[in-house]
Amino acid sequence: MANIHDDPAALKALQDDIYRERILRARRMTVEQRLAEVFELSNRVMARMHEGAMWQLGTTDAEVGWQEVRRRLDRLDRIHDEGRFVNTKPVPT
């Protein structure tokens, strides 16, 4: 089976299809439904982060898991606030 990453045109077409479906789905939703989904997604992401932290620490203590999530988010905030977070490729020097 061919790897789509080896075919830039096919990869772009797939990306466009996925994006188009995301837009069409959002259009089918009401404002209230989209807002409700923000809450649902956000709560789920926090729950997954918590589960992941507990798994990595090998603990069954939920509070220990939350402390680790808090520590990680705090570190991310500091990196962001200090301007050290970038999501673009550095300019070659």
Binding site: A26, R27, R34, V38, L41, R44, R70, L73, D74, D77
Partner: protein
């Protein structure tokens, strides 16, 4: 505490202090674009009597631990106070204060009321057009994605 419970508490604090407000951040962009998750409840507060940020923060103190200093964000909304929920999960609250910018002030005046079943109350959001313009003004990579999503999602209605 869920995101909607924290959002409701922040909005209640604004109402209790008589501070006009507008929900922004991922809530505003998702309502008009593609829903996405967030760990922040971002609220813009009007320039009212006294120090609106301090009064709302004081009201939230039992559930949110705020940083001691108000920061100044040169890109977004100006004065900003950041806090984290004392309970888990460690959701973030950012209180922004309106500043003297013609577009920002007009955006706040044009805000729309929206009832949220999850929050159980009315809230206020910028218009979809203002969200797109605001995002283009900020111009960071994520802002441009949000502007594109909002414009694409709205397009079929015109």
């Amino acid at each position: 505490m869920t995101v909607e419970e924290l959002a409701a508490a922040v909005l209640d604090a604004c109402d209790s202090e008589g501070v006009d407000h507008m929900v922004t951040g991922a809530f505003a962009t998702s309502v008009y674009g593609i829903p996405r998750s967030t760990k922040d409840v971002d609220i813009v507060l009007s320039l009212g009597r006294g120090d609106a940020i301090s009064r709302v923060a004081l009201r939230l103190e039992p559930i949110v631990e705020f940083k001691p200093q108000v920061q100044f964000d040169t890109l977004t909304w100006g004065r900003r106070l950041v806090g984290v929920a004392r309970q888990s999960p460690p959701l973030k609250v950012e209180l922004f204060e309106l500043f003297d910018d013609p577009f920002v002030l007009a955006q706040f005046q044009r805000k729309r009321k929206l009832f949220s079943k999850q929050i159980g109350r009315n809230t206020w959001l910028p218009t979809p057009e203002d969200v797109v313009v605001q995002k283009l003004r900020w111009g960071r990579s994520k802002d441009l994605d949000d502007a594109r999503d909002g414009a694409a999602r709205e397009q079929h209605q015109h």
